[in-house]
Structures are given as structure tokens and as C-alpha cells.
């Protein structure tokens, strides 16, 4: 389009572009409107409200009472709360490596099989889509000390009853076993897809260079999988920080308070004791911790994640 020169009124092209931009902005935000309202109502708003609530005592029936830093002081002195944070960290240390490493190992193994690949995929992935509550109930029966199936097999093979759900240390093992069985499918699938996304050309090149299977894995596959691994680790960490269903349904935080996680603590304080303000304090703190850990992970990603491989 020919531009007008030296005239005060903007040229047609510029006007067109400005209108287009305005239209773009308008339609962009219009399209975004439902998601934005959802985001404000259910993600952003609640977090802010949660932060505000931490400074109040609120039991739902009576009006909120301002207590300043009272809840925070209480939380730092509260041994049950610090215990639940410790327990949550224990779960992090146990479950994140299991899911992130074993998921990769299994995905790699399955990708190397030929005939039964989709059968193996189904078997490993299937438990992850069924309802946690349903199978947790069944597992609690299986792991029952005196009448459970697992102990039956142990006794059958000459061993003795293991206190799967009633020993403070074994409870972690049991929950870890259940978590592995139930959730390995998701990480497995992500890794599997990641593996499938690696172009054949890389493998061919490695083969030409005469690399063994192991060598190829460590020098070619693994580096190329780091974006997937990063995604898996970040989502897993966020997920395990919030772990609720498994400890609630299998041990209800027990024995005593050995498997009581932060999520259980929040649920008990806010909904079973109606200490809404205090519950908000704990949950907001949890959010800050998750935020810090995730930011830390994003900052560290440059060190070990390789993105440019196209």
C-alpha cells in the first residue's frame, strides 16, 4: 500500500494496523474471559483470600476475628504441624525418586519390547486411571495384619505377619507401594511418549558410531528426555506435597500421627475442628513452600535440561 508522506493523518496502512491490533486485543481478551474469570475465582482469588484469612480466627458460624500474626506464631510452636511437614517431606524423598526414576526405567524397558508392548502399557497404565478411593479401600483389606492376603502369602512362604499399616515405619512402605502401583502409570506414560518423540535419526547415528545399548541410553536418550523428566519431576513434586487420598484412606494419618501429611492436617483443622483461619495459615504456608521449590527447580533447569535439539 502506498504510504502518505508528510501528512498529519496517519496512513491507511497504519490505521489498519492499529485497528487490527485493537481488534486483536479485544477478541483475545474476550476469548480469554471465561478462563480468566475461572482463574480469578478459583485460583488467584482463593490464594489471596487464603493469605488474608491466615491473619484471622474464623469458625464459619461467628464473624472472623483478627489475630494478626497469632496463627503463624501458633503454627511454629505446634508440634503436630511441624510433624506433618516432616512427614510430607519424607513422602517427597520416597515417592518422587520412585516415580521419576522407575517411570523412566519401565518406559525404556517397555519401549524395547516388540510384541507385547501395548499389553504391558495397559497393565502398567491401567491402575492410574481407576478411582483411588475404590482401590485404596481394597488395598486396606489386602494389607490387614491378621486377615490380609499379603500376610497370608508371607506366612505361606514361611515368614510371619508384617504390620503393614500399624507400624510407623512400615506404614510408609505400604503407602509407597500403593502409590507406586497406583500412580506409576502417569509418569510411565509421559516418559514413554517422550521416548517415542525422539527421532530415529539419533539412534541411527549412534548405531553407526558403534555405541552399545547402555551408551546410547546415557549419551543420547537421556539428555533428549530431560525436558520430559523436568516436567515429570516438577508435577510430581507439586503432587506429592499435596498428598491426601492415600494416607487418608489407608492409615488416616496413623499409626498415631506417623503418616499425617500437611493436607491431612489442613483438612482436620479446617473441616473437622472448624479452625478455618488456622487452616488457611497452614495451607498458605504450604503454597509458599511449593512456590519456592518450583521456582528453585525452574532456575536449576538450565543446568541439566537440554532443549535445543532440532
Amino acid at each position: 500500500m502506498a504510504e502518505n508522506t508528510g501528512l498529519a493523518r496517519p496512513g491507511r496502512a497504519t490505521r489498519y494496523m492499529r485497528n487490527k491490533r485493537r481488534m486483536d486485543n479485544l477478541s483475545g481478551y474476550l476469548f480469554l474471559a471465561p478462563a480468566m474469570s475461572g482463574y480469578l475465582l478459583f485460583i488467584f482469588g482463593p490464594i489471596v483470600l487464603s493469605a488474608v484469612l491466615s491473619f484471622f480466627n474464623y469458625s464459619l458460624i461467628q464473624a472472623p476475628k483478627f489475630v494478626g500474626l497469632g496463627n503463624f506464631q501458633r503454627m511454629f510452636k505446634d508440634s503436630l504441624v511441624s510433624n506433618s511437614f516432616v512427614n510430607t517431606f519424607k513422602f517427597l524423598l520416597i515417592l518422587v525418586p520412585i516415580h521419576c526414576v522407575l517411570g523412566l526405567v519401565l518406559a525404556f524397558m517397555v519401549s524395547r519390547t516388540r510384541r507385547l508392548q501395548s499389553a504391558y502399557r495397559t497393565a502398567i497404565y491401567f491402575p492410574s486411571i481407576v478411582t483411588t478411593a475404590s482401590v485404596a479401600i481394597a488395598w486396606a483389606y489386602l494389607f490387614s495384619t491378621d486377615t490380609g492376603v499379603i500376610n497370608y502369602f508371607l506366612r505361606f512362604m514361611g515368614g510371619s505377619n508384617v504390620k503393614w499399616l500399624t507400624d510407623p515405619v512400615m506404614a510408609y512402605v505400604t503407602i509407597a507401594l500403593f502409590s507406586f502401583w497406583k500412580f506409576i502409570g502417569t509418569t510411565f506414560l509421559y516418559y514413554y511418549i517422550g521416548l517415542k518423540n525422539i527421532p530415529e535419526t539419533y539412534y541411527e547415528a549412534a548405531q553407526i558410531d558403534g555405541a552399545s545399548t547402555m551408551r546410547t541410553f546415557f549419551s543420547v536418550t537421556l539428555p533428549l528426555l530431560t525436558p520430559t523428566a523436568f516436567f515429570v519431576v516438577v508435577t510430581n513434586v507439586i503432587g506429592v506435597f499435596q498428598i491426601f487420598d492415600e494416607p487418608f484412606l489407608l492409615t488416616n494419618g496413623g499409626p498415631g500421627s506417623a503418616t499425617r501429611t500437611v493436607a491431612l492436617e489442613i483438612y482436620e483443622r479446617a473441616f473437622l475442628q472448624t479452625k478455618i483461619g488456622y487452616g488457611a495459615t497452614i495451607s498458605f504456608t504450604l503454597f509458599l513452600i511449593i512456590l519456592a521449590v518450583t521456582i528453585f527447580q525452574f532456575m536449576g533447569q538450565k543446568k541439566w535440561v537440554t532443549y535445543d535439539y532440532e
Partner: protein, 275 residues
């Protein structure tokens, strides 16, 4: 070639045993659900049904509003998926195809939303719901489910891979933004739409904490909560009946898996996990 044969055998053996272990609990659940209630704990346990006490399945429905629970779960899931789809596709389209001011910033804000734990939003959301009188209703479960940053992410990634030529052709034909969205991009995003729908469906179907907090009446409960209540009720009676309930609850996810697992694969491959 010798080098590859032995490991292949070991590999398959290991994976086979693992698969059996992964699926064994389901067999136990099914087999025990068919046993006489008083025998449910009798050892040795059964993995293959030997007795066929179908009465247990009938008991689940007659002594507990189990059918209501199933319908409630379906209702919540369908509504959640429906609303979520509209919201997510519109947002994904905006992020992928409309160059508007502040787009990257807003997108990052949405992604950051994935980090917010349910625990942190549950309490304030509960308070809001109670003030507008939605506690005890299904809307308290449906409304929060309409926003899912992960779904928006997947859809945006996918829509970014659709060649510009389609959009240009539609514009030349005189289509406005909305028509481009509805008549071009949405139809072309079938696989990712199905994938995200499945994910949303499964997550609402399996959700336990929200119903636990919001629902008290048995007739309003969704399946997971109903099962937990049933197990509390029947604990003094028969484990087999509870397990019959568990088996019934597994039907829908199984069907969905059979129908959808290919789409999940396809959709994930296409939208990719590259940032």
C-alpha cells in the same frame, strides 16, 4: 544378534511378572466380590472367581443409594467436561492464534496457576460456596473444575502446530475470529480435545477430597465418597459387598481407557512436552 536375545527374554519375563502383579489386585477384587459375605476374609484368598454370589451386587444397590452415586458422578463429570472444554478451547485458541497485548505474561500467569495446591484453594472456595449457598450441591464440584491450566496448555500447544494457511484461507473467505475458532480450529483439534476431555472426566470422576468436604447427604454423593461411606457401613458386615461396589466403580474408567487410550497417546504426542 546373540547379545540382544537373552536380555530380550529377561526383559519380557520381568515385564510379564510386573504386569501380573499390577493387575492381580483387580482379580482379587472381582473374585472376592463374588464370595459369600461371611467368607470374604476366609483364607486362602481367591483370585479367580469360584463362587458366584451375585446377590452381593444386588445388595450394593438395595442397601445404599449406589445408583444415585453413579448418576451423580456422571452428572458432575459431564458438566465439568462440557464447561471446561468451552473455556479451555477458547483460551487455548486465544493464546495460540491471537496476538494480543500481554499474551505471554497472562499465559505464564496461567501456568503458574498449576502450582497452586488444592489444599490452599479449598478453604476459601468453601467459604465462598457457603456464602452463595452451594454447599451440598453438585455445582460446588462442577464450577471449580472449569478452569484447568494444564488443559489450556495442551490445547495451546496443539493449536500452535496447525498451519497458518488454514486461518488465512478462512479470513479471506470473510470469517470473523469466532467462526475461525469454531469452524476451523476446533474441528481440527479433535485428538487433543478428546485427550483433555478424558483427563478432565477422569479427574472429576476420581476426585475424593472435594466431595468429602461439600457433600453430606448420601443421595448426593459421588462414587468415591459413596464407596467410602459404604465401606464404613458394611465394615461390620461383608467386605464382598463393598468390593462389589468397588468393581462396579471400575467399569466406567475401564471403558474410557479402552476407548480413549489411543487418543491420549496421539494427543500427547502432537502437543508434545516441549516447552
Amino acid at each position: 544378534m546373540k547379545k540382544r536375545k537373552i536380555p530380550a527374554l529377561l526383559l519380557n519375563l520381568f515385564l510379564f511378572v510386573l504386569s501380573v502383579v499390577m493387575l492381580a489386585p483387580f482379580l482379587w477384587i472381582l473374585a472376592t466380590s463374588l464370595r459369600l459375605p461371611n467368607d470374604s476374609f476366609k483364607l486362602p484368598p481367591s483370585f479367580i472367581p469360584t463362587t458366584f454370589h451375585w446377590q452381593n451386587y444386588r445388595d450394593v444397590f438395595t442397601t445404599f443409594p449406589f445408583f444415585d452415586c453413579i448418576m451423580n458422578s456422571v452428572k458432575v463429570a459431564v458438566f465439568s467436561v462440557g464447561f471446561n472444554l468451552i473455556v479451555s478451547t477458547m483460551a487455548g485458541f486465544a493464546f495460540a492464534r491471537i496476538p494480543f497485548k500481554g499474551r505471554s505474561f497472562v499465559f505464564l500467569a496461567f501456568l503458574a496457576g498449576m502450582m497452586v495446591p488444592t489444599q490452599a484453594t479449598l478453604i476459601p472456595t468453601y467459604i465462598v460456596m457457603s456464602k452463595i449457598g452451594l454447599v451440598g450441591t453438585h455445582w460446588s464440584l462442577i464450577l471449580p473444575a472449569i478452569i484447568s491450566p494444564l488443559n489450556i496448555f495442551f490445547i495451546r500447544q496443539f493449536m500452535m502446530t496447525i498451519p497458518d494457511s488454514y486461518e488465512e484461507a478462512a479470513t479471506i473467505d470473510g470469517a470473523g475470529r469466532f467462526r475461525i475458532y469454531w469452524q476451523v480450529f476446533v474441528p481440527m483439534s479433535t485428538s487433543v480435545i478428546i485427550m483433555t476431555s478424558l483427563l478432565t472426566f477422569l479427574s472429576t470422576w476420581n476426585s475424593f477430597l472435594q466431595p468429602l468436604v461439600y457433600l453430606s447427604k448420601w443421595e448426593m454423593m459421588t462414587l468415591p465418597l459413596g464407596l467410602k461411606t459404604l465401606s464404613g457401613m458394611r465394615n461390620t458386615g461383608s467386605v464382598s459387598v463393598v468390593l462389589a461396589g468397588v468393581t462396579v466403580s471400575l467399569v466406567v474408567p475401564t471403558l474410557l481407557y479402552a476407548f480413549g487410550h489411543n487418543y491420549i497417546l496421539q494427543g500427547s504426542v502432537m502437543s508434545g512436552l516441549k516447552s
